[in-house]
């Protein structure tokens, strides 16, 4: 299981790469609004995030994921189950 702060740090690093450093990333960063990503781009971002954490994130949870914090909590849950 990965610790939450470590997940947020790694997730932020991934997002910085994905957005080419255009946006400052924090726990409360809104994936759609702040990063200006459409739903398909979020799904493609998740493919990278999944590789980094070695988890599969079900598409079903996406409606509950708005911020970096929401995503980090889901990853924490998935790595705990693994």
């Amino acid at each position: 299981m990965l610790e939450y702060p470590k997940i947020v740090a790694e997730l932020s690093a991934e997002l910085v790469t994905f957005t080419q450093g255009r946006v400052e990333i924090g726990e409360d960063t809104d994936l759609l609004g702040d990063l200006n990503l459409d739903s398909l781009q979020v799904m493609n971002l998740l493919l990278h995030v999944e590789d980094r954490f070695d988890v599969s994130i079900p598409v079903n949870i996406l409606p509950d994921v708005r911020t970096v914090k929401d995503l980090a909590l889901q990853i924490e849950l998935l790595t705990r189950e693994a």
């Binding site: 739903s39 781009q41 799904m43 493919l47 070695d54 994130i57 079900p58 598409v59």
Partner: protein
Amino acid sequence: MGLFDKFQKLAAARRDLAALGIDPFGVEIERIISPTEGVIHGRRTILAGTNNYLGLTFHPECIAAAHRALDDQGTGTTGSRMANGSYSGHRRLEEELAAFYGMRDAIVFSTGYQANLGTLAGLTGAGDVVLLDADCHASIYDGCRLAGAEVIRFRHNNPEDLAKRMRRLGARAAETLIVVEGIYSMLGDRAPLKEIVDVKRELGGYLLVDEAHSLGVLGDRGCGLAEELGVLADADFIVGTFSKSLGGAGGFCVSDLPELDLVRYSSRPYIFTASPSPATIASTRRALSILAAGRDLRARLRENYLRLHAGLTALGYTLGAPPSPVIAVVLRDRVEALQFWSQLLARGVYVNLMLPPATPDGVSLIRCSVSAAHTAEQIDAVCAAFAELRAAAGIGAVECGAGA
């Protein structure tokens, strides 16, 4: 938030199009002349964006069969098969589809969209896992959503990524449903089905192949990609549509598994909708028998799509995939694609405009679909229109994408 607030973005996008004087999503074909010609904006136009792969929409035998059914059985069935009864044509078509694929049984649905919706929602539910190719059609995503199953995407056409995700599932992998398409509708690329079957053989699971764009197009008998690659026996479920190569409307799922018949009873898109009309069933049955009877239409289709693919390649266009009846031209951006589409129409060529987020990786595409009914002259006329646009200000001069 108001009920209609969410439409503001759509309304703005539509205003932008109107300002350009382009209405790509509201085209009216004022008169349909043949499978490959119509009248649009008062002008005789070559239809190269129809999915009418075998050109059977005007086949005299299909039309005669539909006429007879209309006269004998009336205009509609007025209800669902579960509640109001099946007509004998529904069952005969299911038997004929099963025989065509050499499988035990088939279920007929009222549209192709509902075939995926009904099969996925009938087959899977809460607690099940569906692994789907990231580029799968919206009907597959929607079917999974209706089912309430856990949905995991794997990278498009990437069997290693599928295997990785199946391994993560551990013991659950053996009961998952893997979903891929024979030919993907946006770029026209094919699934690496042999390699996906290898993953299934190693790690378990069931395989569903959507052959909507490959039925009547690929395979010696025209069954689709699974037949062409010799892995039909490994496809547990094949889904397809009547609206493309068969020139009707409706869809089906065929399987050798005895459980398919039970799917009917758990499939809301099968139970709670009116069954296909007698005329639709009759023309579809006739079209299926024409498709099954010979290879001539497939051969003509292949000749045509090879001709268009070669023509566009020679002009220097970047195409989405190796030759198939779906030929996608990759353009630089949304604005270029819009202008391109509009200028092709002004030259008497109707194709499809495909923009993000409907397209993979945010590309803007001009999508042509080729028919066995196109003449060589029509294909050449389409190429000539593309050539004129190429000459004008280097439009379409994009240097990226998969190429072919």
